[in-house]
């Protein structure tokens, strides 16, 4: 099975491509999608699936352009109410990318439509080896709960608590954690600089996961939030509709 993390330091943004048996999936693509198309070619894979863990607020996604250029389908949480052609997924949805099984976990909290993708390499083992956590769980932090226009930070923080403890923390310790952002991003406040972790490491060292009381969690997660640039809401709106292809820009 092929698995690659693409990291953009400028935006502290991590995207992923994985696949097997000639098929590939891209997760949270950055706007310039050439890197995925070239990587797929080099590994003899066809990009058939594009997953968006949520509607990103801090960068413009290349999901629509990548779909148009490759014929791939875009999978995103139903709650995103995305207006571009897509397949709406929900908790428990399953997608096979070659012999890699993708299980969708609905994990609202950072946004209502946030999902995590649990990956199982069926050629190697029936147990999942990694979870792509978008902006829900970061290395050393969790996603901020104040970026919604329709839900209050305390509401989102409560959902985040449930998502973390009822879904992510029930996974085995060895499962690798791959988030969508690293240190320097404004989507969380305290991320570490590593590019991957494990459920076990996060369970033991992530300050947000140590808070075992739901109300206490909500209180802490909604206090002292980092500044929120105006463009965050605009980027999320652009991503809901899908951005103009790069080549079409003036």
């Amino acid at each position: 099975m092929y698995f690659e993390q693409f990291y953009l330091g400028c935006l502290a943004h991590a995207s992923y491509m994985f696949g097997s048996d000639g098929q590939a999936a891209v997760v949270d693509p950055q706007r310039d999608v050439e890197i995925y198309i070239e990587a797929a070619e080099r590994h003899g894979l066809q990009i058939r699936y594009i997953f968006e863990t949520h509607l990103h607020a801090d960068f413009v996604s290349g999901h629509k352009e990548l779909a148009e250029r490759t014929g791939a389908n875009i999978y995103i949480g139903k709650a995103a109410e995305a207006t571009f052609p897509h397949v709406g997924v929900s908790d428990g949805s399953e997608v096979h990318v070659g012999r890699c099984l993708v299980n969708v976990l609905a994990t609202p909290g950072h946004t209502l439509e946030s999902i995590c993708l649990l990956l199982t390499d069926e050629e190697k083992s029936p147990t999942p080896f990694a979870v792509l956590t978008g902006d829900t769980l970061f290395i050393g932090d969790v996603g901020r709960p104040d970026l919604s226009k329709t839900y209050t930070p305390p509401q989102l923080a409560g959902m985040m608590y449930d998502s973390l403890h009822q879904k992510l923390m029930t996974l085995p310790n060895e499962v690798l954690v791959y988030p969508a952002h690293g240190a320097g991003s404004l989507c969380g406040r305290n991320m570490r600089a590593e590019r991957s972790s494990t459920i076990g490491t996060e369970r033991l060292t992530n300050y947000a996961l140590q808070i075992k009381d739901r109300d206490e969690f909500i209180q802490q997660m909604t206090a002292n939030l980092p500044a929120r640039p105006d463009y965050f809401l605009e980027d999320a709106a652009i991503n809901r509709a899908g951005a103009t292809p790069l080549t079409d820009l003036p």
Binding site: L11, A12, P226, A227, P229, D230, Y231
Partner: protein, 199 residues
């Protein structure tokens, strides 16, 4: 430049400090360029790019597009070198080391402005400094009297140049502190932390 457009110089901070087009602002490609451009300029900005090479201009355009700034108005042909050869004057942005800042802390006509985030300020800062994070600059410039010099610092020297160029553009007399708070701490100069009174 008279119609509200913005000249965005993407060269490294040292080059900008040495010579730049008056009124241009500096967000260097070497740092978190896209995020700060988005935060400081906003998505409806239509910048004119100033760089050293066409490759840098293209890189800047791409990185701006990644965050949603799509309408670059153009670029300065020949960069700053072209500007000065055409007979226009270049501006400078003075620099200061942390040692010098430490020596000048008592000066009545020197203020110190810390533009880091709240968490960074609370953890440790220079006792005499005032705080106004870079994130707020888009909404409003810091409410400072324009009477005397302002020494601006951040953690490493990247954000402070963005802030300094914005203030210089607005007519303030600014000095950038090279190396930022990291250099201050490395030189073992005194700091203080925000005291949180228990609830």
């Amino acid at each position: 430049m008279d119609d509200g457009g913005i000249a965005l110089d993407v060269r490294p901070v040292e080059q900008f400090a040495a010579a730049h087009v008056p009124g241009s602002i500096n967000i260097a490609l070497s740092g978190q360029f896209a995020s700060w451009a988005g935060a400081v300029l906003g998505l409806s900005a239509r910048p004119i790019l100033i760089a050293e090479t066409p490759d840098q201009v293209n890189e800047a355009r791409l990185r701006l597009a990644r965050v949603g700034i799509e309408e670059v108005r153009g670029y300065l042909d020949g960069g700053v070198a072209g500007w000065t050869s055409a007979g226009f004057e270049a501006a400078q942005l003075p620099q200061m080391t942390v040692q010098e800042l430490s020596r000048r802390l008592g000066d009545p006509d020197l203020r110190v402005l810390d533009v880091r985030r709240q968490g960074e300020w609370d953890a440790a800062h220079i006792a005499d400094a005032e705080w106004y994070p870079l994130d707020r600059f888009k909404a409003a410039l810091p409410p400072l009297e324009n009477d005397g010099k302002i020494a601006i610092h951040c953690k490493g020297g990247y954000r402070s140049m963005i802030a300094a160029s914005l203030l210089q553009r607005a007519g303030f007399d600014v000095i950038n502190v090279t190396g930022g708070f990291d250099a201050w701490e490395q030189a073992q100069l005194p700091t203080t932390a925000t005291v949180v009174v228990g609830a």
